[in-house]
């Protein structure tokens, strides 16, 4: 297959690219920010995201497109909505307009996020009401809407992946990375939050497996949304304890008990819709996944 990954220099994008390359697919990666030189991907290009460039790219006649571009961090977008709108929403609309005008109409999978659900402590199903509370979440939600709109009106096959918290080697943010860094640099540290927050933490290899299987099974996505998650929730406290155990270090930690406005208590995925399509995958055991991540930092 010939695969195009917009945002292929990012954490999930680069792992997807490497998976497809290992499996002898032809992969083209594009970024609107900067090329990660550590990635050994031959076709890795920095371009301006606009209709003209998208139309030129579409002439390569891809079998599959992933759109993982745009801001990937709620923290960076908390004070500037235009950052999210310009880097994610406007560019996604440009891509969809280009596909609309192009002869080549490969399926497109858009990377949305668990944050579109907002505060909801239930096990989250794709049809639950959305309640975005940050600019990042709002933008992802608007893109989901755009996906549905372009499928309904222009017969462009679009699938939406609502990606839950993902960790693994290469990711330099979020709780797993932050905690490992703290364990390695201090024997007495603080962790953000209360520790009782629940997250559906998924290991990157399992997420790639889920995404690639889903896109393989659904050749013509019809604007539908799928949770991409491990399906097994953990408290942050239990994750920190596991990491401390893996480190074999004697460290003390406590929680700040602070919350940012966009922090939600729990994110628990209901994976039944996705599992119905791909079946239940063999997941990497959490201790092994954390150990691999720990050793990579």
């Amino acid at each position: 297959m010939k695969i195009c990954i917009f945002g292929g220099n990012g954490f999930i994008g680069s792992n997807l690219a490497n998976y497809y390359l290992k499996n002898n697919h032809k992969v083209y990666v594009y970024t609107q920010t900067k090329i990660n030189k550590d990635l050994k991907i031959k076709n890795n290009f920095k371009i301006k995201y606009n209709e003209k460039n998208f139309i030129a790219i579409l002439k390569k006649k891809f079998d599959l497109i992933y759109f993982l571009s745009g801001n990937s961090n709620q923290e960076t977008s908390k004070s500037d909505i235009y950052y999210d709108l310009n880097s994610t929403f406007n560019t996604f609309i440009s891509l969809l307009e280009s596909v609309k005008k192009s002869k080549s109409k490969p399926p497109i999978w858009f990377a949305s996020s668990v944050v579109v659900y907002g505060s909801n402590n239930k096990s989250l199903k794709e049809n639950f009401e959305r309640n975005p509370i940050s600019y990042y979440a709002l933008t992802k939600y608007l893109c989901e809407n755009a996906g549905k709109f372009y499928y309904d009106n222009f017969n462009i096959n679009i699938g939406i992946m609502r990606i839950f918290s993902t960790f693994g080697p290469g990711l330099k943010k979020l709780v797993v990375y932050d905690t490992i860094k703290k364990i390695n640099s201090s024997n007495n540290f603080k962790v953000f939050g209360t520790g009782n927050e629940i997250r559906d933490l998924a290991f990157i290899d399992d997420q790639v497996k889920t995404i690639t299987l889903l896109c393989d099974k659904i050749k013509k996505p019809q604007g539908d949304i799928y949770n991409i998650a491990a399906g097994k929730p953990y408290t942050i406290k239990s994750i920190v304890k596991k990491l401390v155990k893996i480190s074999k270090k004697k460290v003390l930690f406590k929680f700040t008990k602070k919350r940012r406005f966009f922090d939600t208590k729990n994110f628990i995925a209901n994976k039944s819709k996705t599992n119905k399509i791909i079946g239940v995958i063999n997941k990497t055991p959490i201790n092994l996944a954390l150990k691999k991540t720990y050793n990579s930092i």
């Binding site: 406007n90 307009e97 709002l138 939600y141 809407n145 009106n153």
Partner: protein, 291 residues
């Protein structure tokens, strides 16, 4: 009492509200028609609204946007540029002000209209993906919903509004009115569709009552009475003594649309003052002076 400000005072609906309510302050890059007595504050665009910092206001009527569905349906970027982006800009400013009420306008076309012939209330399902124009209005509603905690808002889903205007507009009544003063034979796409036509002066009263209410959320604004386009063309034909003929072309919206305005009545006790005939006669008489 703090002021009410209005964005879009040089468009179609803005001047009608401003004329009826001279205490409302107009904000925008273009002045409202010169016969209006309202105070006007000039701003270059919505990117820098610092000029508003010194104005004591707590209610906002936001009419900036495009209702030209013909153009937006050809190009989604125009819907995003004229309907979605200005709303983001104003919300970003207003979230830091203490606002009692913000009103903006979407469309009755958002409704699914599953059972033509039955009235459509705010509880009815929507179909936001039916075309570019409706989708751009849907995006507006999502934006309003996102800011609802910091900016208490009302989204008006407006029916077919008509009235006098010097502007060239794509809507049915202004198009016919412009034609009756220039042509002998006037054509409309189709005279069969049944619509809720609201006279702009009546709509202005409803909007001002809403902005002064405590309600937040979505509300239909129409008369609650629907007429076939044929009734409207025959009234205009009688006043103008011009023939108005149907091209019998397919229309994009539903053939029969009946609006439920119980919520509007409950919140505001508003009633329309003009019958369809009275509204059209006034529109004709005012527009006659423009030609």
């Amino acid at each position: 009492m703090k002021n009410t400000i209005l964005f879009g005072g040089s468009g179609f609906f803005g001047p009608i509200i401003l004329k009826k309510y001279p205490n409302i302050i107009s904000i925008g890059r273009t002045k409202p028609p010169k016969e209006l007595k309202n105070k006007h504050i000039h701003i270059k665009n919505l990117n820098n609204l610092k000029k508003l910092d010194s104005i004591d206001f707590d209610k906002v009527i936001f009419l900036i946007g495009s209702s030209n569905h013909h153009i937006i349906n050809k190009n989604i970027n125009i819907g995003v540029k004229y309907n979605f982006e200005p709303l983001i800009k104003i919300m970003e400013y207003l979230k830091n002000r203490k606002i009692k009420k913000f009103i903006c306008f979407t469309t009755i076309l958002l409704y699914k209209n599953e059972k033509p012939g039955k009235t459509v209330s705010e509880k009815n399902k929507t179909d936001p993906y039916k075309n570019n124009y409706v989708f751009s209005k849907h995006l507006m509603e999502e934006v309003v919903n996102f800011y609802k905690k910091s900016v208490p808002s009302i989204v008006v889903r407006l029916c077919n509004i008509y009235g006098y205007s010097k502007l060239k507009r794509p809507d049915l009544v202004p198009t016919i009115m412009q034609d009756v003063f220039k042509k002998n034979k006037i054509f409309v796409w189709n005279t069969k569709p049944i619509r809720d036509f609201i006279f702009a002066e009546d709509a202005a009263d409803a909007v001002v009552k809403l902005v002064n209410s405590t309600y937040t959320g979505v509300v239909n604004v129409g008369t609650g009475k629907s007429f076939p386009v044929e009734t409207l063309t025959s009234i205009i034909s009688n006043i103008s003594k011009k023939k108005i003929l149907s091209k019998n072309k397919k229309v994009s919206g539903p053939y029969k649309f009946l609006t439920n305005i119980n919520l509007l009545k409950k919140i505001t006790k508003w009633k329309s003052k003009y019958t369809l005939k009275e509204g059209l006669v006034k529109t004709y008489n005012v527009m006659k002076n423009y030609h």
